[in-house]
């Protein structure tokens, strides 16, 4: 570790601790803790959504994948971005108008049964744990690479930082850490992209031309064309389905919509987020292409087989030690911002849904709510740190796509039916969530991620289910199960649905909630 890295790192850590200190003074109620008092503006929340969404996997992972696989590395960005249309057109405004802190709140707006809330909370917690585990294991490995500190120390360091942000500064601190990170990330990618473009004399044809000459025995097709990774088309379609429909069911993204005062601000935050996220994904092309032409394939793979070091190495090549240190610090900031958001959404499902609403039946004082939220945050953080320490040597990269898959299969069908389908009822909601969740889990256990004849996965055997991501089966399964489950139960009174429609479209009930 050189001095520049240490200085940048310390600067970022002190900045976020300062943010947390000021945020802690403003965190006095459960609403402050979970939603920053609902007082964020559209652009603030848009930046925070981007900060929450663009994980280290997007920054280092996609840049590296493009450097190694060309078009195939870029391919999934399409699913990650168009997903925000589902968020905007279907989910954002009704969610803001119906919910308070969590996704389960929104579903409970129509179905008051504790069973429904508990089921929704369990699916949220499952998603958060998968996502968190993937982030922490990835973070440990990355920090090991970037700063040369041991895995265990790296995971514990990240764990302590995220716990401090959440415990003392709640959603206010988490949001500001995410905003700062989003800005740093954009600055970093813009600088590198500019330098790469300069290298190609600001000519797209020159850049694409250089990419057409790249060849390697690993590539199953031309670098510049689809198919270089040799994945089956069904695998790709299935993963795009998971990404497209999953984002609108991810608890830590949905939670961000409660940090703004009304549906209008919720929608403008999606607008900001899509611009930032979209521009970022386009810039990753320059990062990847730059790395592919300025570095050798061997060099990238030697540093990390998945290509995760391509962006930092490229930064070093283009801007020396200073830029490399900046990019490493940005990667660290990225990891922290994402895990802090995850802790908060996990804690809200435990403390607000399960403890506050199901066990205490909503009879809980403001002070008890805060205590429960803080205890749950520490519990979620400790649990995920312990899991991450044990999972060090497992390949957990698939857990992120699994989290998206569960979100798409268990959460989205119920969200859509709750808002739009009159006949939908309690049975449909519970059966839909359970079937969506179980189908995803079981199919992943039977998939090449877990069963692999080469012995690189948990079980050495031929996979029973051929696709790495089961969304193409499990998403329809979730929708169909919720549909037929509905007809197993009796028809419920229409008043509740009418109330949900009136609230979700007009926002009448949130209009007079004073934050």
């Amino acid at each position: 570790m050189n001095t520049t890295v240490v200085l940048m790192f310390l600067f970022f850590v002190s900045l976020t601790l300062l943010i947390t200190y000021f945020a802690s003074k403003r965190t006095n109620s459960a609403s402050d803790f979970y939603t920053a008092g609902g007082g964020l503006t559209g652009w603030q929340n848009g930046l925070a959504i981007a900060g929450d969404y663009l994980s280290a996997a997007s920054f280092l992972g996609i840049a590296g994948a493009i450097a190694l696989w060309g078009f195939d590395g870029f391919f999934y960005s399409i699913g990650y971005l168009t997903a925000y249309l589902v968020v905007l057109y279907i989910v954002a405004e009704p969610l803001r108008n119906l919910g308070k802190y969590t996704l389960a709140d929104m579903i409970a707006a129509r179905f008051e049964l504790k069973k429904v809330r508990a089921t929704a909370a369990v699916s949220s917690i499952t998603i958060v744990i998968f996502y968190m585990l993937a982030q922490l294991v990835g973070a440990g490995a990355l920090i090991q690479l970037l700063f040369h500190i041991p895995y265990t120390a790296a995971v514990i360091l990240v764990g302590i930082m995220m716990t401090i942000y959440v415990l003392f500064g709640g959603m206010t601190a988490t949001s500001w850490v995410q905003m700062v990170k989003a800005i740093l990330l954009m600055i970093g990618t813009m600088i590198i992209s500019f330098l790469v473009l300069m290298h190609f004399d600001f000519s797209m044809t020159k850049m694409f031309g250089a990419m057409q000459n790249i060849s390697s025995p690993d590539l199953k097709s031309d670098f510049i064309n689809p198919g270089s990774q040799g994945k089956s088309p069904l695998d790709n379609i299935s993963l795009i389905i998971a990404l497209l429909f999953g984002t609108a069911g991810l608890p830590h993204i949905l939670m961000r919509f409660f940090t703004v005062k009304d549906a209008k601000t919720a929608r403008s935050s999606v607008m900001w987020a899509t611009w930032i996220i979209g521009i970022f994904y386009i810039l990753t092309i320059f990062l990847g292409f730059g790395a592919a032409s300025l570095l050798s394939r061997e060099e990238i793979i030697a540093a990390n087989p998945a290509g995760n070091m391509a962006a930092p190495l490229l930064a070093e090549k283009l801007g020396g030690d200073l830029l490399m240190s900046f990019v490493s610090a940005v990667a660290f900031a990225t990891i922290l911002a994402v895990v802090a958001g995850l802790v908060l959404s996990g804690a809200s499902a435990f403390a607000h849904d399960i403890y506050g609403e199901v066990i205490k039946k909503g009879q809980i004082s403001e002070k008890e709510q805060m205590t429960a939220a803080k205890i749950a945050s520490v519990a979620v953080a400790v649990l995920s740190i312990i899991l991450a320490l044990f999972a060090q040597n497992l390949n957990v990269a698939f857990l992120v796509s699994l989290a998206f898959c569960v979100a798409a299969s268990a959460n989205l069908p119920v969200i859509v039916y709750t808002i739009f389908w009159k006949r939908f009822n309690t049975q449909g909601a519970i059966i839909g969530i359970i079937v969506g969740l179980l189908t995803s889990l079981v199919l992943v256990i039977l998939s090449p991620n877990v069963m692999n004849p080469a012995g690189t996965a948990f079980i050495t055997a031929n996979p029973i289910f051929p696709l790495a991501n089961p969304a193409i089966i499990s998403v329809p399964a979730g929708f169909i199960a919720a549909f037929f489950g509905t007809f197993l139960g009796k028809e419920e009174a229409a008043e509740k649905f009418e109330e949900v429609q009136v609230k979700s479209i007009t926002g009448i009930s949130t209009a007079d909630v004073t934050h």
Binding site: F74, I78, T82, Y84, Y89, F208, P233, L244, V502, G507
Partner: protein, 102 residues
């Protein structure tokens, strides 16, 4: 906050707003889902997107770029359309909140 949701739900103005919202949302949603899913289908089962569109850039990259432009365009369209829905919904909220005379 006991609003008479039943009465609002059957209010003509609300019914009209609801219908307009749905007529706006659903066709566009179907469109962007198809446009997105068609991409992995075309790149997976055909190779015609590998042909050069112009300069030395292939159709696959043009398709990807068009999807980005689609996202930003549809977001802008939604923002504008939602503003007109806001006006209608504000009128409904005012009507049932009772205004200053309550």
């Amino acid at each position: 906050m006991g609003y008479d949701y039943d009465r609002i739900a059957h209010d003509d103005e609300f019914q009209e707003l609801k219908a307009k919202r749905h007529q706006f949302i659903f066709p566009i949603t179907v469109f962007f889902i198809i446009a997105t899913l068609l991409f992995p289908v075309l790149t997976g089962y055909t190779t015609f997107l590998n042909h050069i569109a112009f300069w030395n850039i292939s159709w696959a990259w043009i398709y990807a770029l068009l999807l980005f432009i689609m996202v930003w365009t549809l977001v802008t369209i939604y923002m504008n359309k939602a503003r007109s829905f806001d006006k209608a919904s504000e009128r409904i909220v005012m009507k049932y909140k009772g205004g200053p005379d309550r």
